[in-house]
Symmetry: C2
Subunit: 576 residues, 2 copies
C-alpha cells in the first residue's frame, strides 16, 4: 500500500498518510503538481514556510519496466513564481517506489541556520540534525553520508547553492555508483529544499519490494514489448548510447538552430570540438565509459563517464544542454573545461542550463568576454563561496540580466531558454513560451518533428503547425512524466505505435485498470490544466506566455528568421 510521507520541518516530525482519493491514480509529475496545486498558497513566498517540496516516483516506478525510475520534484518555483516539476534519473525513483512511498511532502520551515537530514527506510522515517553537512557540496555531502549509511542506498541532497537559496539551485540524486550527478535541475527547487532546512535525504531500499502488480503476466508481456521498441528505434538504440545527448550539437549546428553567444547566431564555428562525436572519441581514448545508465533499469544508457587527460574521473558525460550552455552559448569550444564545469555545477548543486545561460548574459553584459573559459570557471567557483557575484550567477539568467542591465535576456517566466533557438526551431519556441514550467525543452520536445524527423515532420522555420505540435507533445510529456518514464522513450513512442500501447497495457496491468490510450493522453491535458490554473492564481497570465521581445525583431543567422508564431496562436496552445 503506497503512502504519502508528510515531513514537517517546523517541528521536525514525520507522519505517514494514506493516499487521499483525490491523489490516487497519480504519480510523478501528476502527483507533485496535484499536491502543490491543491495545498500551496499560490501567492506565498517560495522560500517561506507555506511552500511545500514534493518528491514522488512515477506510476510505473518500482517495476521492471525499462526506464521507469524517474523521480519528480515539485513546489512553487522561486525562479518562475509558478508551479514547478523537475524530474531526475538516479536511484531514488525506484527506491522510493520499492519502499511504498507515493510521495514525500516537505512542509513548514526549520529554524534559520539549522540543517537536517531525512533518513528513510522500510516503514521508517526520521529527521536528524545535519549541521555537520553545512557548506558542503553534493560530492562531499554524499561521501560524508556514505560513511554512516553505506553504498546500498540512494542519496538526495543540495549543495551550497541550495543552502544559499539561490534560484538556480538544483536537487541532486545519486546514480548507481553513488555520484550526485543526476539533478532535478530547473526552477530552483534546491532553494526550496534549502529554505526548509533539509540538506539531504537518505533512501535505504533494504527490505523494500517490487511494486505489486494486479496482473503480473500481462505486465511482463507489455514490458517486453516496450523494451523491444526501445531496442529498435535508432535514436534510443544507436545515437544516444554511443554519443549521449550531445549528439545534438552537430545536428542543431547543421540546422542553424544552435544558439551561439547568447542567442546571437544559430551556428557555432567550434561546434565539432564539443560534439557528441568528439565526446565519444575522447572518452574511449581516455578509458572513460561512453555508455552508462543514469539509473538502474535503463536500457538506453546515454550517460557516459568523462575522464580527463590523465584518465581520471571528472564528471558524468555533460548533457547536450550543458555542453551547449557553457560551450557554444558562451563561445567556448573546450570539452575538458565543460566537463570540469559540469562537475562544479553538480557539486554546488545548480542547474547547468540556467547558470550557463546566465554566464552568457554576463558575457553580453561585458563582465567578461565570450570565449573566456578561464574567466567563466573562476566566476563559477564563486557560486560555491557565496560571493555577491557568485550569488547573482547562481540566481540564474534573469537575475544576471536584471542586475547587469542586459537587454537581451533569453528567459520565459524568468527561466532560461535551453539549447534550441526558437527562431530556427519554432515548435520548441511554442513550448518555451507556453509551458507552465517556463522555458523548458523537456516540456514538449518539438525538436522531434522540427529537426529529427521523429513523429512526423514540421518545417522548423515556419510558424504553421507548431502550436498543434507543441500542444500534443506537452500533453504526452505530462503523461510520461507522471508514469515516471525517461523522456527519451518518447522517440520510440512517437514512431512505433506499439510502444505507447505497451505503456497503457503496463499501467492497466499494474493497477488493474482499463485505461485506453485516449485516457492516458487526456490525463496529460488535465495535469497541464491544473498547472496553468495554479499559475493564474500565482499571478501569471497569457502575457507571460511570450518569448522575450528580441526574438521577434532580431534576425537569427544563418537563416535570417525571427520568431513569428502570433500571440493569438500561442494562446490556443492549451485549448484541447
Amino acid at each position: 500500500m503506497f503512502k504519502i510521507l508528510r515531513v514537517d520541518m517546523t517541528s521536525q516530525t514525520v507522519a505517514w498518510q494514506d493516499v487521499p482519493a483525490e491523489y490516487q491514480g497519480l504519480g510523478g509529475r501528476g502527483l507533485t503538481s496535484a499536491i502543490v496545486a491543491k495545498e500551496v498558497d499560490p501567492t506565498c513566498s517560495p522560500i517561506g514556510p507555506l511552500n511545500k517540496l514534493v518528491i514522488a516516483p512515477g506510476l510505473l516506478g518500482g517495476t521492471n519496466c525499462a526506464n521507469s525510475g524517474r523521480v519528480s520534484v515539485g513546489a512553487k518555483s522561486p525562479l518562475t513564481g509558478g508551479i514547478k516539476e523537475a524530474n531526475s534519473g538516479g536511484q531514488a525513483g525506484q527506491y522510493l517506489a520499492k519502499l511504498g512511498v507515493a510521495a514525500i511532502v516537505v512542509e513548514g520551515q526549520a529554524p534559520a541556520d539549522k540543517l537536517f537530514k531525512l533518513v528513510l527506510g522500510k516503514d521508517k522515517a526520521e529527521i536528524k540534525a545535519a549541521d555537520h553537512l553545512k557548506g558542503l557540496g553534493n560530492y562531499a555531502t554524499v561521501e560524508k553520508l556514505a560513511e554512516t549509511y553505506g553504498s546500498k542506498v540512494g542519496y538526495c541532497s543540495i549543495g551550497q547553492a541550495g543552502e544559499y537559496k539561490l534560484t538556480g539551485a538544483s536537487v541532486a540524486f545519486t546514480d548507481q555508483e553513488l555520484r550526485p550527478t543526476r539533478h532535478a535541475g530547473r526552477g530552483g527547487l534546491g532553494a526550496v529544499m534549502g529554505s526548509k532546512g533539509l540538506k539531504a535525504i537518505v533512501i535505504d531500499p533494504t527490505h523494500g519490494s517490487a511494486a505489486p502488480l494486479a496482473d503480473p503476466e500481462a505486465f511482463k508481456k507489455a514490458a517486453k514489448r516496450f523494451a523491444k521498441a526501445l531496442a529498435e528505434h535508432p535514436v534510443t538504440s544507436g545515437g544516444l548510447p554511443a554519443y549521449g545527448t550531445d549528439i545534438l550539437i552537430n545536428i542543431l549546428n547543421e540546422a542553424g538552430g544552435l544558439p551561439t553567444r547568447n542567442f546571437s547566431s544559430g551556428r557555432f564555428e567550434g561546434a565539432e570540438k564539443v560534439s557528441g562525436e568528439t565526446l565519444n572519441e575522447v572518452t574511449i581514448k581516455r578509458g572513460g565509459n561512453p555508455t552508462h545508465g543514469c539509473m538502474g533499469g535503463c536500457v538506453i544508457r546515454c550517460s557516459g563517464i568523462y575522464h580527463d587527460a590523465k584518465g581520471e574521473y571528472v564528471s558524468k558525460w555533460p548533457e547536450y544542454e550543458t555542453v551547449w550552455a557553457w560551450g557554444p552559448n558562451c563561445g567556448i569550444d573546450d570539452l575538458d573545461a565543460i566537463a570540469r564545469i559540469d562537475r562544479l555545477c553538480d557539486d554546488f548543486g545548480v542547474d547547468t542550463i540556467e547558470i550557463g545561460c546566465a554566464m552568457a548574459v554576463a558575457m553580453e553584459g561585458g563582465l567578461l568576454k565570450f570565449g573566456d573559459v578561464a574567466g567563466a570557471e573562476k566566476i563559477l567557483t564563486e557560486v560555491g563561496k557565496g560571493t555577491p557575484l557568485g550569488r547573482i550567477l547562481g540566481s540564474g539568467t534573469g537575475a544576471m540580466g536584471h542586475v547587469f542591465g542586459v537587454r537581451r535576456v533569453p528567459v520565459v517566466k524568468n527561466q532560461s531558454l535551453p539549447a534550441y533557438d526558437p527562431r530556427a526551431v519554432k515548435g520548441i519556441g511554442v513550448t518555451y513560451a507556453t509551458s507552465p514550467m517556463g522555458a523548458d525543452h523537456t516540456a514538449g520536445y518539438s525538436v522531434t518533428a522540427n529537426i529529427l524527423s521523429v513523429g512526423g515532420k514540421v518545417d522548423p522555420l515556419k510558424a504553421a503547425g507548431q502550436v498543434e505540435l507543441s500542444r500534443g507533445l506537452q500533453a504526452a510529456t505530462a503523461a510520461i512524466d507522471t508514469a515516471g518514464l525517461c523522456l527519451f522513450v518518447a522517440f520510440a513512442v512517437l514512431d512505433i505505435p506499439d510502444a505507447f500501447a505497451a505503456i497503457v497495457d503496463m499501467l492497466n496491468a499494474k493497477y488493474g485498470l482499463k485505461l485506453t490510450g485516449d485516457d492516458v493522453g487526456k490525463l496529460g491535458g488535465q495535469i497541464l490544466g491544473m498547472e496553468k490554473d495554479f499559475n493564474v492564481r500565482a499571478g501569471l497570465n497569457n502575457a507571460d506566455d511570450r518569448l522575450p521581445d528580441f526574438f521577434k525583431f532580431e534576425k537569427l543567422p544563418p537563416h535570417g528568421v525571427v520568431f513569428d508564431v502570433p500571440d493569438s496562436e500561442l494562446d490556443k496552445t492549451f485549448i484541447f
Copy 2:
C-alpha cells in the same frame, strides 16, 4: 499651442507633433500613462528599444497656481514590469510648460556605450553627444552642463545607476539652486533613460511664456482661493514648513506603524534622534535652512537644506521616507549619516526608498548587522562603482532578497514598501497591494484618515473601510498627479472643500472648460483603469495585488496585528 516632442534615440533625431485628439485634456501622469498604455508593447523589455520614456508637466503647469510645477515621468517599469509614473519637484515642470511642451517622448535606443544629451529651448530641440558625461554622478553632471548652459536653466539627468540600467535608478531634476535633489525616484525610470543612451536634458525656459489662460480673471481668483486654503491648513502651513516630511517619524512611531529593522517592529527606540523635530533643531543650529521650496511657486516649502557639523551643505533635507528607509528600517539613528546617504543616493541617482529597503533586506540576510551605519555607507558607495554588490543593491529590494535568498522581502510587484507598516496602517496596505504602480504610498495616501485625522478618521488597525478609503484616494491622486500639483495640496483638499473647487475652477479657467468636481474625480478613475489594463496586458493579474505573505502571519509589535484585509476585498478596490 502645446506640442509633443518626439525624440528618436536610434537615429538621434527629434520631431514636434501636435497633441493628438486622444491625448488632449491630459497632462502629467494622465498623459504619461496614456502614451505608455497606447504606444508601448506591454510585453517588451523595459530597457529595450520598444519602451518609451515620457516626461510631461501637469495640466496646471506654466501657471501661477501654487505648487503646480510637478513633472511626471512614465514608461514601462524595469522594476515592476508594469506601467509606471513617478513625479518630481524641481524646475522642469514649470519650464517645460512655459516652452509649450506637453510631453517629451523618448523612443528607440542609441548605440550601446554612446551617451547623448537633449538640449531644449524655445522652439528648438537638439540631440548632442554627451560621452564626456559618462560615469558622472548627478552633481558632477549638472556642474559640467552648467559650464555650457549656465544657471538659468533646468537640468534633468541620470547618475551612474541609470547608466548601469539598475532597476532602482531614478531620474533627477534640479531645484531652484541647480542641485539635482529632486527625483522621479520609483520604478527604475532612470534605467529606462539610461537604456536609451540619454544622459541628460537641458531645459532652457528663455523666451518661454506663461501658459495661456482662457479666462485670466477667473483663473486669478481661483488661484488665490487655492493658495489661501494651503495657507490655512495646519499641515501645509505649519507642520511641513517647519519640520519637513520628517515630521512623520514621531507620529508613526507613536502609532506603532514605523517599520523598524526590515518590518519586524512598528516602533524604533531611536526615533527621536532622527525625527523632524531633531532635524529642525540641528538645521537651525548649523545655519542650514529648515524651510525651502523644492520648486518655484511652492508655498508649502517642506524641503530644507541640511548642513554638516562644520556648517557645510550636505544635501537637501532627506524626506521622511529616506530617513525611515535608512534610519529605523536599518536600525540606524544617525541623522548626519542619513543626510550623507541621501546625498550619495541623489548623486548616483537611485530611489532612496528602494535602496534603503534593499539595505535592510541585506541586513536581514546577514550581509551586515542592523545598525551598521559604516557598513551601509560603504556598500552604498559600491553602487556608484558598479561592483556586483553595488549593482545588486542598486537593483532594489526584490533583487537583494532574490540574490541573497531572504524570505522576508517587503515588496509588491517587486517595488519596495515605503515607510508605513501595512499591518498597523491598513489603509496604506490596500494602496500598496492594489496600486498599478507597485507598493507606493503616494498612490493613495490613506495615512491621512488612518493616522493624521485628515479627511475623516478610519481606524488604522481594523480592516473595515480601508478599501473604500484607498479607492477614493487613489482616484483623487491620479487626478492631482495629472494636474501637476504637489501631492501635499491633498491635505488642504481633504479638509477644506473650497480647495478642491478652486482646482476645478482653475482647470476650467485655463482650458475654457466646464468640468464639474465629479468630472475631475472620474478622470482619476479612468487613468487608473488605463494603467490597470496595461498591467494586465503586461502579465499582471489580481494575484499580483497582494502583500508578501509574512504580513499575513507575522504579528507586528507593539499592536500584535497582521494584515487582514481579505483578498476578495482587495479585488474590489478598482470597482468604481
